[in-house]
């Protein structure tokens, strides 16, 4: 598949308040075109809030977020979203879910057929088009959700702990599949996780957030070559580096064994 257009994202001094409580404080972040960024941190650090603000689901109280220089004013089809709880439409078939976005924009029947075939094949679910989501396993549902986001040809893919609810084996398979997809067309990806291993395996840039108040603490560049080997020294070194940044000043005693 040809390379699709990706976007850059700039977050400038963005804060998010719920009432008087500030959940995100003066966050600044630059995401390059085609970059794979992981937002990592403990619960309450505002990583999901930051993602939701970029998606346009919640407004920033201060500062600004721009995509390709245009300020984010709400959700839009340029930013595809994958949720932890899948958020598939249970009343639509798998195929109807996947082509929902293109259908809204009035794509022809043949075009919808082609898109459904292409993206379901991409996530290895081409035989499941006529199933309903509740007939699928968790891993299959998340594949459909990924296909639905991709079929809409977004310039940015936003993912909120997409593999958090899956078992370890399925999670690793889907991580690999996601990387394959990303390397094929280099969409800009922002991936929220609380797993150090997931960040070390997936990301080029790991943004470590801390809680109370939610803020960016450290940004780590991960230049390990791909394909990455989860048993290599380079992987463990990166794991320890991220883990150390995450645990800094909270727990001086560090564990160095990956979970």
């Amino acid at each position: 598949m040809s390379r699709t257009h990706a976007s850059s994202i700039t977050v400038q001094e963005a804060s998010v308040r719920y009432g008087s409580r500030e959940v995100l404080t003066r966050v600044s972040l630059d995401v390059r075109v085609g970059e794979f960024v992981c937002l990592l941190g403990p619960s309450g650090c505002g990583k999901t809030t930051l993602l939701n603000a970029i998606a346009g689901f919640i407004p920033v109280s201060d500062g600004r977020i721009t995509v390709d220089g245009v300020e984010v004013g709400g959700p839009g089809a340029d930013r595809g979203m994958v949720f932890q709880e899948y958020a598939l439409f249970p009343w639509f078939t798998v195929e109807q879910n996947v082509v929902y976005g293109p259908k809204l924009r009035g794509a022809s029947r043949q075009e919808l057929r082609r898109l459904a075939d292409h993206y379901l094949t991409l996530v290895k679910l081409d035989k499941y088009g006529h199933c309903y989501p509740n007939q699928l396993s968790g891993g299959q549902r998340q594949r459909v959700a990924l296909a639905r986001a991709l079929a809409n040809q977004p310039k940015i893919l936003l993912m909120d702990e997409p593999f958090g609810a899956l078992d370890a084996m399925t999670r690793e398979t889907l991580q690999q599949e996601l990387l394959d997809l990303w390397q094929a067309d280099r969409r800009t990806c922002i991936f929220v996780t609380h797993s150090v291993g997931e960040a070390a395996f997936l990301a080029e840039t790991i943004v470590v957030l801390k809680a109370q108040p939610g803020r960016i603490d450290t940004v780590i560049q991960n230049t390990n070559p791909r394909p990455r080997d989860r048993t290599s020294d380079a992987y463990f070194a990166m794991y320890r580096k991220i883990d150390a940044a995450l645990r800094e000043e909270h727990e001086p005693l560090r564990q160095s064994v990956p979970a």
């Binding site: 709400g74 949720f83 709880e85 958020a87 439409f89 929902y100 976005g101 639905r148 986001a149």
Partner: protein
Amino acid sequence: MKTVARGVHETDPLGTRPLGIRERWMLGVGSIVALLAVWQLATGLGWINPVLLPSPVEIARAFFASAMDGTLIRNVGASLARVVQGFVLAFVIAVPLGIAMGLSRTIGGLFDPILELLRPIPPIAVIPLAILWFGIGEFSKVWIIAYGAFFPILLNTMAGFREVERAHVRAAQALGANRYQIFRDVVLRSALPFVIVGARLGMSMAFIVLVAAELIASSSGLGFMISDARYKFRTDEMFLGMACIGALGFGLNALLRATERRLLRWKSG
């Protein structure tokens, strides 16, 4: 190590294996036939006074008699017409109101207290009022039935439109859906199961109220048939009326269930 034979003990330690369709049919038909046989025997042998409890054969005879002279079909028709009119009247008012109350906090807050005040009053308690207001004509009965069906439909519709999942709305937004498309493809779709449950509960309430209204003030319908048979001491006709009400309710519920299965195919995975 001993190998265990696949048997009852291994696969079904509690004996709770679900029954097959054939087995269920056989059990169901068998139990009904057995009940009728015992009943027929008990009245035929004079254990029970047949004037108070007529035998199944007597009731069947009453069925054929009233089916032939047209009174049965007239009474069934009158009851069916009332229940359908009352139900439809309730539905067309309760659903839009429920949607408005579910979607708008202001409208919900405005009507909620009134609802909570009226809801505990059993619809049967408003029958005397309806007679006073609207007389004993058709509209009076339709109104009472509508009143009974109204609350289940309203409350469930409201709940359905209040409980739309935020993630579904956001997913649609991120795919480029506008407000109208979100309403059509997400809000309406996710509320539909609740509306259907409300309709089914409303229909069963409509039935209860129908019979009560016809018992009290009516000159036609199945409730009237039962009450009229009491004055004539025709218990066979009373039983016939009760059986017809049961059959009618069963039929209407089956109709709603079929609609539900058609509309909510995605639920039975």
